[in-house]
């Protein structure tokens, strides 16, 4: 379980010496095997929050703990999927997928076996020897996903993973992620700026407000699993999406 209590984070602004409050008094929990999506307007600190949970940046006040242990840095129980894929351009698909395994000292033949399974899982058979630049954006992010899954984390932290993809690819990958999640049931924290995506994927949607970033509301998504693209037509889906839009719209009015 991920537990966040009274979390605050301030960024130094070098030019005037004053700090900017990025996150203020954040409280929430993510239960084991739960899929939580985080949505909010830009500047609400959702990516900062994810990076804190990933252990990539420190926080100033409050408590962030996983299964009762405070986070002090990255850990083997967590893996991150990045918005810009963060693939090594010099390494082929196979080497990118095994990166996390290798740096943790996994024997090479074991790395290869695991990578084979994952390549099948994300549908990249035949592309093992390709370099990232030879792949489409969707394929690149499937490599990013496979790399994260390779280390078998309990928790998957996804930072707008499909934000850089075109809509068709994005929807395909959402469906694949749902399918994968049904099989593996990892705990997922998924940051997005797409309302469809937030509702389609999440068990709960965390709505954030900007400047400073706060949790506005945790919204349950009472849609049955496994979910198919059909749920988009359900009343519940449409209602939650409209509710999100009302709120996000109110936050943006006067700002843009």
């Amino acid at each position: 379980m991920i537990k966040v209590r009274a979390l605050s984070k301030e960024f130094d602004m070098r030019d005037n010496g004053a700090g900017v409050l990025a996150l203020s008094d954040i409280d929430f929990e993510v239960h084991d095997n739960e899929f939580v999506t985080i949505i909010g307007p830009s500047g609400c600190g959702k990516t900062t929050l994810l990076r804190i949970i990933a252990g990539l940046i420190p926080y100033d006040q409050g408590e962030v703990a996983i299964d009762g242990r405070a986070i002090t840095g990255p850990g083997p129980e967590r893996a991150v999927v990045f918005q810009n894929f963060a693939l090594m351009p010099w390494a082929d698909v196979l080497a990118n997928i095994t990166f996390g395994l290798e740096v943790r000292g996994t024997p090479p033949n074991e790395c290869r076996d695991k990578a084979r399974d994952l390549i099948r899982l994300v549908g990249l058979e035949g592309f093992e020897k390709r370099l990232p630049k030879e792949l489409s954006g969707g394929m690149q992010q499937r490599v990013g996903l496979a790399r994260a899954l390779a280390v078998n984390p309990q928790i998957l932290l996804m930072d707008e993973p499909f934000g850089a993809l075109d809509e068709q690819t994005r929807r395909l990958l959402q469906e694949q992620l749902l399918q994968l999640w049904e099989e593996q049931r990892k705990t997922v924290v998924f940051v997005t700026h797409s309302m469809d995506e937030a509702v389609m994927l999440g068990d709960r949607v965390m709505l954030m407000t900007p400047r400073p970033g706060r949790v506005k509301e945790m919204i349950d998504v009472p849609l049955q699993r496994p979910r198919s693209p059909q749920v988009e037509k359900s009343t519940a889906f449409v209602e939650i999406k409209e509710y999100l839009w009302e709120n996000l719209r109110a936050m943006q009015v006067g700002e843009s």
Binding site: L56, P74, A79, V80, F82, A86, P89, W90
Partner: protein
């Protein structure tokens, strides 16, 4: 399938494709036609100007080649080439090791860069030859003096390029590595080093060129050995053909060392193609 290829390569009769023994040459001339033509044109122009102007400092190209042939035949070149190359290789290796080390530290750690940047740039813009008398004072008429000259010529451009290369590595790759628990050493070996290679090699190539300059200047001004000493001696005798002949040898050293770096670079940074 494989046997068929072997048979063709062996030159067995294959009426569809007659054996082209000159294909290497053909490919070379096709790909390098502009260079070859430019060189031929340059040589021809030089020859014509040499004969028609009759200047003492511009002997015709053929005279220079004649002098070069004499050098090679008499063994003068071979004897001096050895000591020149030795200074070049030792000096450049030192410059490379120091340059990569300092550059990496500066690229990775902001305080190190802030502390050293002014010195590195000062040494980089300062004409390295001003250090010649200083090294002569320190090391005397020894190999160490001309090696030190090669080092100051070659090192700083490598430092600057390496620092820039490391500093500009995509930060999201470093973050990715950290997210998998990589420590500083792993980040360096697995991310920073491979990611920075293309720019680092640009610095190494510039460094090689400067090392060749440093080698000749050091030999001409302080050590009086090797090719630099030859150029110095013939210069004093106003024997332009021989000076140009030495310059030709230096040119070849520069081109060859540059090609060696290029070959290594192409092998190691294939992913950028």
């Amino acid at each position: 399938m494989k046997q068929e290829t072997v048979a063709k390569a062996a030159g067995n009769s294959s009426p569809a494709r007659p054996v082209d023994r000159l294909w290497v040459l053909r490919r070379f001339t096709r790909e390098n036609a502009p260079e070859v033509l430019a060189l031929l044109a340059g040589a021809a122009l030089w020859e014509v100007l040499g004969w028609s102007l009759g200047l003492q400092w511009l002997p015709p190209f053929s005279k220079v080649m004649e002098a070069l042939a004499q050098f090679v035949a008499s063994g003068v070149i071979v004897a001096n080439l050895g000591s020149s190359l030795q200074g070049l290789i030792v000096g450049f290796s030192l410059a490379l090791i120091l340059g990569l080390f300092l550059g990496s530290l500066m690229g990775r750690y902001r305080p190190v860069e802030k502390a050293l940047d002014i010195y590195v740039h000062a040494f980089f813009v300062c004409p390295s030859i001003v250090f010649a008398p200083i090294f002569f004072a320190i090391f005397g008429l020894s190999d160490a003096a001309r090696i030190a000259i090669v080092v100051v010529y070659a090192m700083f451009v490598i430092v600057i390029n390496t620092a820039t290369a490391i500093r500009t590595v995509d930060p999201s790759l470093v973050e990715m590595a950290r997210s998998f628990g990589c420590g500083e050493a792993q980040i360096f070996r697995r991310i920073l080093l491979p990611a920075s290679l293309p720019l680092v090699f640009a610095g190494i190539r510039l460094g090689v060129g400067r090392a060749v300059k440093g080698m000749i200047n050091g030999e001409m001004l302080i050590a009086f050995v090797g090719l630099g000493a030859l150029a110095q001696r013939y210069g004093a005798q106003f024997d332009a053909a021989k000076v140009f002949a030495v310059a030709m040898v230096v040119l070849v050293i520069g081109l060859v060392s540059n090609s060696l770096v290029q070959i290594l670079e192409n092998r190691l940074t294939r992913w950028t193609e």
